[in-house]
């Protein structure tokens, strides 16, 4: 009895030999690869630059524009800048860690590395991001008493409410990112089962 795979093998080889004609230009491909690598690096640098600029902007604001005097305010500044600094460190670490996923390793090894990366992201997105957001929020509201020394009550209320709006937008975007990454994690878990 003939192996059904033999007929498939023949068809496979036949199909493969008809592919050779359409090979794209290698030099264009190399250029495309270079461009993609460059844009990936630029995107990461862009993300970190935005966070770093925010950090510098807020620091400069506190140093040169609004020099807070109260201990409570100093604690608030510390919480806000500390949260941002922690976020920058995490982004840098994530960037470095994602680079370590090696596509030339075996599928099981790469799968495992990707799974660990997204499990790490899950931990970051969960407790760590929430803690940073809480620290930042608490920090901001600790500035409110001293704000009221310089601004009218209406201005302080406006400031507090606008912070809430900004925080709501931030939470929404984080939630979307978390959902996307958690779907990826589910897919990875599902794929992982296929290796068993």
């Amino acid at each position: 009895m003939s192996d059904p795979l033999d007929s498939l093998k023949n068809k496979w080889q036949e199909a493969k030999s008809s592919t050779k004609e359409s090979r794209p230009d290698t030099k264009e491909l190399i250029q495309l690869a270079r461009n993609k690598m460059k844009s990936a690096v630029n995107m990461h640098i862009g993300n970190i630059a935005v966070l770093a600029l925010t950090f510098v902007g807020i620091s400069s604001f506190f140093k040169y524009v609004a020099q807070f005097q109260n201990t409570l305010s100093h604690l608030g500044i510390l919480l806000m800048l500390g949260g941002l600094a922690l976020r920058i460190i995490i982004e840098l670490y994530s960037m470095n860690r994602s680079k370590r996923i090696d596509f030339s390793e075996s599928a099981a090894t790469t799968q495992e590395a990707s799974l660990k990366f997204y499990q790490y992201r899950k931990r970051i997105h969960g407790p760590v991001t929430i803690t940073i957001l809480i620290a930042y929020t608490v920090g901001f509201y600790l500035l409110t008493p001293e704000f009221s020394d310089y601004f009218t009550t209406t201005q302080v209320i406006l400031l507090d409410v606008s912070y809430l709006l900004a925080a709501a937008i931030f939470i929404y975007s984080i939630r979307t990112a978390i959902k996307k990454e958690m779907k990826l994690l589910d897919e990875l878990n599902e794929l992982n089962n296929q290796f068993e």
Binding site: R34, E105, L188
Partner: protein, 163 residues
């Protein structure tokens, strides 16, 4: 000794057909998706050029990159592509009245009914890669691979009998 560009040019020339065929099988015969995935596989090959240490042949190494690229593609695009891919295959046969159907579609349809990893494994078997090499590409023990291949063959036989 050739530099990275020369080496890549020669790898692209030597293994393009192999990678494209695998991507075509993985994408259930869809030529556009297969072209994209082939391109992505070679981009990942270019990115990994400095990581080749000579522990395996270039063929096995490129197979690893292709398999990883296919698996990444499927997990990144599963939600949106599953529907479009399935409907695209139905549309090809329905709207074109069978006359313009991609060649070897029957082969891809049969393989396409297997799960992602099984599909990749059987394509390497069809390409007559040694079991030892397939095990090194997938990253499982050879004994485990043999069990898997036996099971995949049984599934394929059932699929072919039902067609």
């Amino acid at each position: 000794m050739p530099n990275n560009t020369q080496l890549f040019e020669s790898l692209h020339a030597d293994y393009y057909a192999m990678v494209h065929q695998m991507c075509l099988g993985f994408m259930k015969g869809d030529p556009d998706l297969a072209n994209d995935l082939t391109q992505e596989s070679f981009i990942n090959t270019w990115r990994s050029m400095d990581k080749f240490k000579g522990a395996s042949s270039y063929k096995t190494w490129i197979y690893r990159i292709t398999v990883n690229t296919c698996l990444k593609y499927i997990r990144d695009n599963k939600q949106k592509k599953q529907v479009s891919l399935d409907s695209q295959i139905d549309l090809t046969s329905a709207s074109n009245g069978q006359t313009n159907e991609q060649p070897h579609q029957e082969l891809y349809q049969a393989i396409g009914q297997l799960n992602d990893l099984d599909r990749l494994i059987i394509m390497m078997v069809l390409d007559e890669l040694e079991y030892e090499e397939i095990a090194s590409v997938v990253g499982i023990k050879e004994g485990n691979l043999r069990v898997k291949i036996h099971r995949i063959k049984k599934n394929l036989k059932k699929i072919l009998e039902n067609e």
